[in-house]
């Protein structure tokens, strides 16, 4: 695949460069707030990119992706609470727990299609939410404070803002690269083929649901990583973080940026969270604007930002 120079790729390159250089800007201006904000943005971008893998490439409209954020986060939080502070244990557990949850939920949900699938992933994520609320040892409804961030044996210090930011950014770029490889691999071709025409893929010899399920698990695992990062970022996990509106926001980020485009979810997340930040500086009632805006985007700007940029490039 040759890299083409067009509007879309230039924008992607600029955004990536901007993310890389952001700590320099923050250090130069002494603006710590922007680093904190973008750490959050980068983590959510990873979650959105993982959702895009199943939504954009796999055609599976999961409305329960916040559950993985919660599971990854609780894995870190609970282990820390029980005195296991090493990230070398916490993070693999976070990934494994997310993968296992995705495997069970996926195996059940993938028996259905279309809107049933949307509702069922939503319902299962709510179930996870209630389970978290029921964990009275770990704070129940009130959530669990993490007093110490994951340690990596002196390799990296997560309490250092800049180091933590770069770790998150590394995970994001690594995640997007992984998804890029997957999408172009044999496996990715099959998954996209199934999105396009399931019956045809069955007829030429593919067991569609097996591929779907594996894709679903990969996506959930990546999102679990985002959950582990998020818990370290906020030093806190709570059921509220896996409430269904969070899943909805992740979907919005993906669609904002452009479903099925590799870097789209990253740009969508940046836009969504910046917009939220900006609006909430003007008014407490930012959703009064965001809600109708969402409606308008759905009605008039399908394909999201990446779609628009693509059109600019061609025009």
């Amino acid at each position: 695949m040759k890299l083409q120079i067009n509007v879309r790729n230039v924008v992607v390159a600029l955004v990536a460069l901007g993310l890389l250089l952001l700590p320099l800007y923050s250090a130069a201006t002494g603006n710590i707030f922007i680093l904190t904000l973008f750490t959050r943005i980068v983590i959510f971008a990873l979650a959105a990119a993982s959702l895009n893998l199943i939504m954009g490439y796999g055609g599976m409209m999961s409305f329960g992706h916040a559950a993985y954020l919660g599971i990854g986060g609780y894995a870190v939080g609970i282990l820390a609470f029980e005195g296991i502070g090493s990230g070398f244990i916490q993070w693999p557990v976070a990934l494994a727990a997310s993968a296992l949850y995705a495997l069970v939920i996926g195996a059940l949900s993938l028996r259905t299609r279309g809107v049933y699938f949307i509702m069922i992933t939503l319902a299962f994520a709510q179930m996870a939410y209630y389970v978290a609320s029921g964990l009275s040892r770990y704070g129940g409804d009130d959530g669990l404070t993490i007093y110490r961030r994951s340690t990596f044996g002196g390799l990296i210090d997560l309490s250092n803002r800049v180091q933590f930011y770069y770790l998150c950014l590394f995970c994001l770029f690594g995640g997007v690269y992984l998804i890029w490889r997957i999408v172009n691999s044999r496996f990715g071709m099959v998954v996209q083929g199934i999105r396009s025409n399931e019956q045809r893929m069955q007829a030429i010899g593919y067991h569609a649901n097996r591929y779907r399920l594996v894709c679903f698990v990969i996506s959930g695992t990546i999102c679990g990583l985002a959950g582990a990062l998020l818990a370290n970022n906020t030093d806190f996990v709570s059921p509220a973080g896996m409430y269904w509106t969070r899943s909805g926001e992740l979907m919005v980020m993906v669609v904002f940026g452009g479903m099925g485009s590799l870097f789209g979810p990253v740009i969508g997340t940046i836009l969504f969270l910046l917009l939220e930040e900006l609006l909430s500086q003007f008014t407490e009632y930012w959703a009064l604007v965001m809600g109708p805006l969402l409606l308008l985007i759905v009605l008039f700007a399908r394909g999201g930002i990446m779609g628009l940029l693509g059109r600019v490039g061609r025009g």
Binding site: M1, S185, G188, M189, N197, Q202, A203, I204, G205, Y211
Partner: protein, 255 residues
């Protein structure tokens, strides 16, 4: 007498109270081109769907290459060498023609749980795809997205996809549907070549094509076989004439 490649025994499929397949038995010998004809609503597509595994019969059995495949899901049948084309063109519209064929080749080339290497760069898959495209006369159209191919080209691509799975048997559901005269002639010529290599079951409305191609013909009416035999025998069969009376493609007009 050779063993049949495909053996259908007393197949029954009901939809509500309607018998769409009524105690149907059928043998297809290796190497032959076996046509299945019948008036609209005779249950031809229902039969094909049961042969490929989209539908499960209520009773009866289907044997392919000596194996009972009655309850096998369609992807397993494809692996055994049973390929189909769809009556209404069913391709991957947002992929290129070559991608469509390469995916079919990939399905029969080890497993596809490979997550890292770029599939479009796997040389032997591309070559297999190109070979199948050449076979059906789409040699230069590989890079064109399916949605931009003409209807006739899409029908040919359907065949290429089926061929790329390296089948023992092709089930073709109305490959001429919607084709113009020139395109039809090309398709007939193509099928004449293919029949040298692979066993074909052909469901078709175009009687001219059927009688030009078939070794044997089976006639379905209301889900039952009313006649089966060589084309000449079918032409002169009284029951077939009666079944087709009033139908547009009267057999007699060709006879």
């Amino acid at each position: 007498m050779v063993d049949p490649l495909l053996r259908v025994e007393k197949l029954v499929r009901r939809f509500g109270g309607v018998l769409a397949t009524d105690n149907l038995s059928l043998d297809v010998l290796p190497g032959e081109l076996h046509a299945i004809i019948g008036p609209n609503g005779a249950g031809k597509t229902t039969l094909i769907s049961q042969l490929t595994g989209q539908l499960t019969p209520n009773s009866g059995a289907i044997h392919f290459a000596g194996r009972d495949i009655t309850r096998l899901p369609s992807y397993r049948r494809s692996r055994l060498g049973l390929a189909r084309s769809f009556q209404i063109t069913s391709l991957l519209p947002d992929f290129t023609a070559a991608d469509n064929v390469a995916l079919a080749a990939q399905a029969h080339d080890g497993h596809s749980f490979r997550f890292w290497g770029a599939a479009r760069r796997e040389k032997h898959l591309r070559e297999a795809a190109q070979a199948a495209l050449n076979r059906v006369g789409l040699a230069r159209r590989g890079d064109v997205p399916v949605s931009e191919l003409s209807h006739g080209e899409q029908r040919e691509l359907e065949l290429a996809v089926a061929l790329a799975t390296r089948p023992q048997m092709l089930l073709l559901d109305e490959p001429m549907a919607g084709l113009g005269a020139t395109e039809s002639a090309r398709m007939v010529a193509l099928l004449k070549e293919l029949r040298q290599e692979v066993t074909i079951v052909l469901v078709e409305h175009d009687m001219e094509a059927v009688f030009a191609l078939a070794d044997r013909i089976t006639v379905l009416v209301y889900g039952r076989v009313i006649a089966s035999g060589a084309p000449d025998a079918i032409k002169s069969n009284e029951e077939v004439r009666r079944a087709y009376l009033g139908e547009q493609h009267a057999v007699t007009s060709h006879g």
